[in-house]
């Protein structure tokens, strides 16, 4: 399409400038994490003089990163499992059955897509307190599930609707229960949609700071984003430890992104309408 060499060069120029802008903070973060405090203040722009690893050592020992990781993994795992199972079931109900109120009920779910659940904080906090779930990971997991259900149902329902009925009809005539049809016929076919739903929900859940901030106070229950906030506050002027901590905290998602960038871009873009 673009044949002109000059315009091609101009486009590449813009790309490279923007790529530098997008990467620069991340590169600085990683490079600085290998510097000592003195070098950070004296030579903020230069490459690390030598590989200074004390920042990492101190961050790992002083910060409870292994605990934060485990908590993040627990929250993400149980949230996602429940989101997938509940949304699959509901989507199957919406895609395969017509009944009174079905479209109204579907709208009821969709209405929640763009509404930020944060606005319900006051009541959520009170609920979690009376359920004795403050300082339990369950509180964060339950909110994650509730706010991810609408978008997941939207995506999965449209996928299930696209599957031709004939397969299921055949199974039905053979006397297959509908629950069996869902788990053994429908689920394998919509696997790509399940992957999309998993990714689009995984990252916001993994990166969420707000609800852990509301419900979790105990140090040993904090997930990564809340842990890093604690860490940042505690070592405010110990720059090398802070940069090391930030790098440790962001490395897992960046590593996964490196290998699954296409799916991540797709999933996150599709999930962008979530409030």
């Amino acid at each position: 399409m673009i044949r002109n060499k000059i315009s091609k060069a101009a486009i590449y120029f813009v790309f490279i400038i923007y790529a530098l802008y997008a990467l620069y903070p991340v590169i600085i973060m990683i490079l600085t994490s290998f510097k000592s405090n003195l070098d950070i203040i004296k030579y903020p722009l230069s490459l690390p003089k030598s590989l200074y690893l004390d920042g990492y050592k101190n961050a790992w020992v002083k910060g409870q990163f292994s605990t934060y990781f485990v908590n993040s993994i627990i929250i993400a795992f149980f949230s996602l499992i429940a989101i997938i199972i509940l949304s699959l079931m509901a989507s199957y109900g919406f895609a395969r059955y017509r009944f009174k109120m079905s479209s109204l009920l579907y709208l009821y779910f969709l209405a929640g897509i763009m509404i930020p659940i944060k606005l319900g904080s006051a009541n959520l906090f009170r609920m979690m307190r009376s359920l004795n779930l403050i300082d339990r990971l369950t509180s964060v997991i339950l909110v994650n599930i509730a706010m991810s259900i609408p978008i997941s149902i939207l995506i999965l329902t449209s996928f299930i609707k696209q599957i031709p009925d004939s397969l299921e009809e055949a199974a039905k005539i053979d006397g297959c229960k509908s629950s069996k049809i869902l788990w053994w016929i429908v689920v394998p076919i919509v696997r790509p949609a399940i992957a999309t739903v998993t990714i689009m929900n995984f990252l916001p859940i993994w990166n969420d700071f707000y609800f852990p901030l509301l419900f979790i106070r105990k140090e040993n229950l904090k997930p990564i984003p809340l842990g890093i906030a604690q860490f940042f506050g505690e070592y405010q002027t110990d720059w090398s430890i802070i940069f090391a901590g930030l790098t440790i905290a962001s490395l897992p998602t960046m590593a996964v992104y490196l290998f699954m960038s296409k799916q991540f871009i797709q999933g996150l873009t599709a999930g962008a309408i979530k409030g």
Partner: protein
């Protein structure tokens, strides 16, 4: 054979109750932990309640207090102004730039996937990490941004970016836009790629150059998508909280210059560390205002979108 067919018939018959079985679990979780808390919180706005102790019904007193009594009224006006600034600046720094880059990406030059990968990378980070990272980059004494400005002879520009009431909100907006740029970019790119190839071909035959084609054909066709990405920013910005929390704290300093609805809401609800105690009634009142503004935005967008699509 006979047995099989009767069973099938029975199953078809039972279907009336089947969908309920499938939908009920999701319905319960969604209703109990999303719908009810939302409506419950709206109800709290009619009560005086500190989060503990007794709830006292006060009618619309909280609203009157919020709109007319100092400091609430002053904070509210400030928050509305700041939040609209935050919104418009995000549209400029994030969506307009994203649209430009998406157009360039749509030319399918070599290396496109690598650049797309790079542009989207910040989106995968946690907001809180992005906030802290930019706070460090902007550090007035040794931060890389000021060091760079000094090294190229622009000492005058080496400001205390986050400590200045004029620049702090702009910096926070840039950090936020830096992170989320990838999303509108990908939405725009998908929109451009969806444009019917024959439209483009006919424009080339008519002697349109790329620039003219973008201006007269691509952009008008993208209008619904431009609208959608705008409302996404609107909803996000009017409920944002973490980025300001990370870069300016819950008091949204300096001097409330970065205070937006999210921080105002959080601060009022859970109390300020040293001064005000938690106030669930007033917090809920602010949340109701947020819901009102966000819903209004969405409704206006839907009306506009219908008109554009006609």
């Amino acid at each position: 054979m006979r047995e099989g067919s009767t069973r099938a018939v029975r199953l078809w018959h039972k279907e009336k109750f089947e969908p309920i079985k499938y939908i009920l679990p999701a319905f319960l979780v969604y209703t109990v932990f999303m719908t009810l808390p939302l409506f419950g919180s709206l109800l709290y706005s009619f009560f005086e309640w500190q989060g503990i102790g007794e709830m006292r019904y006060v009618g619309i007193q909280n609203y009157i207090k919020l709109f007319t009594q100092y400091p609430y009224n002053e904070r509210l006006v400030n928050v509305i102004i700041n939040n609209f600034k935050f919104f418009f600046l995000t549209i400029i720094f994030q969506n307009i730039v994203a649209l430009g880059i998406a157009i360039l990406l749509s030319f399918n030059l070599k290396g496109k996937n690598f650049f797309r990968f790079t542009f989207f990378l910040p989106t995968t980070l946690s907001v809180i990490i992005v906030g802290y990272l930019w706070t460090l980059l902007l550090n007035p004494t040794w931060g890389p941004i000021n060091s760079f400005l000094k090294s190229i002879g622009l000492e005058k520009l080496a400001l205390n970016w986050l400590g200045n009431t004029k620049t702090s909100l702009i910096c926070i907006t840039i950090a936020n836009a830096w992170q989320y740029m990838g999303i509108p970019m990908m939405i725009f790119l998908a929109g451009i790629n969806n444009i019917d190839e024959s439209i483009n071909e006919s424009s080339i035959i008519d002697g349109c150059n790329e620039l003219k084609r973008m201006w007269y054909i691509t952009l008008p066709l993208l209008r619904p998508i431009i609208g959608m990405t705008t409302i996404l920013v609107f909803v996000r910005n009017f409920s944002a909280f973490e980025i300001v929390y990370a870069m300016a704290g819950t008091s949204a300093g300096p001097l409330y210059s970065t205070d937006i609805f999210g921080t105002f809401f959080y601060r009022t609800l859970f109390g300020e560390t040293n001064s005000a105690p938690q106030d669930f009634g007033m917090g809920a009142t602010i949340a109701t205002c947020m819901l009102f503004i966000i819903s209004l935005g969405v409704i206006i967008w839907q009306i506009w979108d219908k008109r554009v699509n006609e």
